[in-house]
């Protein structure tokens, strides 16, 4: 395998090398390639197509260098406030920031390309000195294009991720250190300035109102993520086991019914529940009243604690089928002989479940349970469609964080309704710090990691 790849990527062995003679001087190749991208390829390595491509990259970079410097300067200053100008001509700090981040990304890509060109030159030099120059066939455009396949295959992915994932994330991390917020610092009318750690100080203790809201929402986010995951997991497992043990002929029908919540788009089911549970005119309360169970309307979504409880319950409704399917799948993979053997030894159904099936299920599903916990920390839909973050609490007028708001939905409110971009960014950084360990855990159990490939 490795020789094949090497042969493919670095030109191939054709003519046997002249005895011990150095066809190219590695130090000269190194100097040339460091001097100008692709120079070594064109001059001594006889890889014209590749070399010219590299040279073009450097030329474009040099031609655009003044712009690059200007845009990075913009990122540093974010523009001076110029209130005498008409709004349209004032410096737009927002654009300056994003352009700056994008240009930095381009510079990073260029630096990577430079490193790649130097590496590829030294590698080619080594190849030539051991095996001689590659034949003409391998220097044809089609051969070069095939060797460039990794680059061609990854470029679209690379560009998309760079500009639609990396740049936005870097930008929003940077916003945490600015005063980008309504009403005083919204471009284009006003500029934005760097403020250092001021936002962190305000949110983590400097301001009682904000500090209290951060603590409250943070704790609820964790409690919610735990409850949401635990209830759906236990509920799903229960249904899977009950379905498995029932010998009724209509069991498949029940299974089909139980999949329904999983199959209905979340927007639909959550909005339905929101309407059904409306305190005043929702169907649920009116049904309870008609059955004579309650007299007064129950404020399912308008009492803070009851709303939190309702949210967990509705999430159970929405989420248990996923774990039911998952546990069903895991149970079928447990060898039937093991269970038979236990039964022959006189184990009851409960003992079989408790001692044999449960440990297996837990062991196999734990990674997905952990991912589900991370997902629930960011479960925007469960809040936004069901409660909209409400009901309101005393600090909600200022902070916009309602009783059931999670960190994510709060960030959404802060961005879309209050334009408090700086605070939203601080919270986003907080979420990242909470979720990162789960990602690392998930990463460590991937096959590539275990096999030491990474």
């Amino acid at each position: 395998m490795s020789t094949l790849v090497a042969a493919r990527l670095g030109g191939s062995a054709v003519s046997p090398p002249p005895a011990r003679e150095q066809l190219v001087d590695p130090r000269r190749v190194r100097t040339l390639s460091l001097l100008f991208m692709g120079l070594a390829h064109v001059t001594v390595l006889r890889e014209r197509v590749k070399g010219i491509a590299f040279m073009l990259v450097e030329l474009v970079f040099l031609v655009t260098l003044p712009t690059t410097v200007r845009l990075i300067g913009g990122l540093v200053t974010l523009g001076e406030a110029q209130p005498h100008l008409p709004i349209r001509e004032r410096p737009n700090s927002l654009f300056m920031m994003i352009d700056g981040v994008m240009v930095l990304t381009v510079v990073a890509i260029f630096a990577a390309a430079y490193a790649i060109s130097v590496k590829s030159a030294s590698k080619a030099a080594r190849e030539i000195n051991t095996r001689g120059f590659p034949s003409e066939k391998h220097k044809r455009f089609s051969a070069v294009a095939d060797r460039a396949f990794p680059i061609i295959g990854l470029t679209p992915t690379f560009i998309l991720i760079a500009f639609f994932v990396v740049v936005p994330l870097v930008f929003s991390a940077l916003v945490a250190f600015t005063n980008y917020a309504a009403p005083a610092n919204i471009p284009p009318a006003n500029t934005v300035d760097w403020v250092g750690f001021d936002n962190f100080v305000r949110l983590f203790g400097g301001d009682n109102l904000w500090g209290g809201a951060v603590a409250r929402v943070f704790v609820w986010t964790l409690v919610w993520a735990f409850l949401a995951t635990a209830t759906t997991y236990v509920g799903g497992m229960l249904m899977a086991v009950v379905l498995k043990n029932s010998k009724l002929r209509i069991t498949p029908l029940f299974r089909a019914i139980f999949i329904l919540p999983y199959a209905i788009p979340g927007v639909v089911s959550l909005l339905v529940w929101r309407n059904m549970l409306n305190g005043a005119f929702g169907t649920f309360n009116r049904t309870l009243a008609a059955l004579g169970i309650t007299d007064a309307a129950i404020p399912w979504l308008t009492d803070p604690n009851l709303a939190r409880f309702t949210m967990v319950m509705i999430n159970l409704w929405v989420g248990f089928p996923y774990f039911m399917l998952l546990v069903t799948g895991t149970m079928t993979s447990i060898p039937a002989e093991t269970i038979e053997a236990a039964k022959v030894d006189g184990a009851s159904d409960w003992q079989v479940f408790r001692r044999i099936q449960l440990p297996q299920i837990v062991f196999q599903t734990m990674p997905l349970v952990i991912m589900s916990f991370a997902h629930n920390i960011n479960n925007f839909g469960a809040v936004f469609f069901l409660t909209g973050g409400g009901p309101n609490l005393p600090d909600t007028t200022t902070t916009s964080a309602g009783a059931t708001d999670l960190m994510v939905s709060w960030i959404f409110n802060l961005t879309v309704n209050l334009q408090q971009y700086h605070n939203a960014s601080v919270l986003a950084i907080m979420i990242f710090l909470v979720i990162a360990p789960f990602a690392i855990y998930n990463f460590r159990r991937t096959k590539s990691f275990k096999e030491g490939e990474l």
Partner: protein
């Protein structure tokens, strides 16, 4: 003695069955109750949730709401938009993820490790954290309020995870398969199209389904990117029926049924496959 034991165990069995039936039925009622009400609402005269009867289907029957959806709202346009977005996102995800995964799985090159590592880390971020920047970038490239702009956002969001997933699958496919083709003189592109993609069909089907389903439910990005009425998606449209200001629950119900039914049919029909693919995801790393 033995006779009593048999009788006892038979009684136990019967109690067991009874308990199971009670559990299954009560859960079924809990699952079906809102669904039945939504179906009923779609066919019941009236508009808001307040006018809905407590007993489903007890206040007459009408097809007006469906008629209203097709004639007085942009429902068909929303449906078409969402379908276009979902199809384009799925196609793009499958092509780029399988290409990227093939490169990662079979080639060695500079910065491969750091690139793969950063793709994993990027997965961690809630995707809409960078909302403002995405908005400005789309504004700059003229992608605001266009369907393709939204597709680009979805594609970029999908790729880190899907590429990794296909790569882990592909690592288990014997390399001899594509190396044999290479010795026969096939180009990398040909090997990808003719050997790698067919072999990875199971995982690609799974990814295709998940990336097709995702845009139907998403709300945040369409709301941010799509502004004009003719560019809305189903989720935005349905949401607009039941805001706090105007509650047209019956239109909402009718519209929901039209989206949900294909999904439900698909999921119920493929439940066997779902079970195995979910379990596969649990066991595999």
């Amino acid at each position: 003695m033995a006779g009593i034991d048999v009788a006892k165990s038979r009684r136990n069995q019967r109690i067991n069955t009874a308990v199971i039936v009670v559990i299954l039925c009560s859960v079924s009622i809990a699952v079906l109750w809102p669904i039945v009400h939504v179906i009923a609402a779609a066919f019941t005269p009236g508009r808001s949730i307040a006018s809905m009867p407590v007993v489903p289907f007890s206040q007459g029957f009408t097809l007006d709401h469906f008629h209203h959806l097709f004639t007085s709202t942009n429902y068909l346009v929303w449906f078409r938009n969402t379908f276009v977005i979902a199809t384009a996102t799925t196609a793009g995800t499958l092509v780029l993820a399988s290409l990227g995964a093939y490169v990662f799985s079979r080639f060695t090159f500079t910065f491969k490790k750091s690139f793969m590592m950063s793709m994993l880390v990027l997965n961690v971020f809630p995707s809409f954290v960078g909302m403002v920047a995405i908005f400005v970038i789309l504004l700059r490239i003229g992608g605001l309020d266009t369907l393709w702009g939204l597709v680009l956002v979805y594609l970029a969001g999908n790729l880190p995870f899907t590429t990794w997933m296909v790569k882990s699958y592909m690592d288990n496919v014997p390399r001899e398969l594509d190396e044999a083709a290479r010795i026969d003189g096939a180009t990398s592109f040909r090997i990808w199209a003719r050997i790698v993609v067919p072999v990875c069909k199971p995982i690609l089907v799974f990814l295709g389904v998940t990336s097709f389903v995702m845009p139907w439910m998403d709300f945040i990005f369409p709301r941010m990117v799509l502004r004009s009425p003719q560019n809305q998606t189903i989720a935005l449209g349905l949401f607009s029926f039941v805001t706090d200001r105007n509650n047209f629950f019956t239109y909402f119900a009718a519209g929901s049924i039209l989206v949900a039914i294909p999904f439900i049919m698909f999921f119920v029909l493929t439940q066997k496959m779902l079970v195995s693919s979910l379990a596969g995801a649990a066991v595999k790393g």
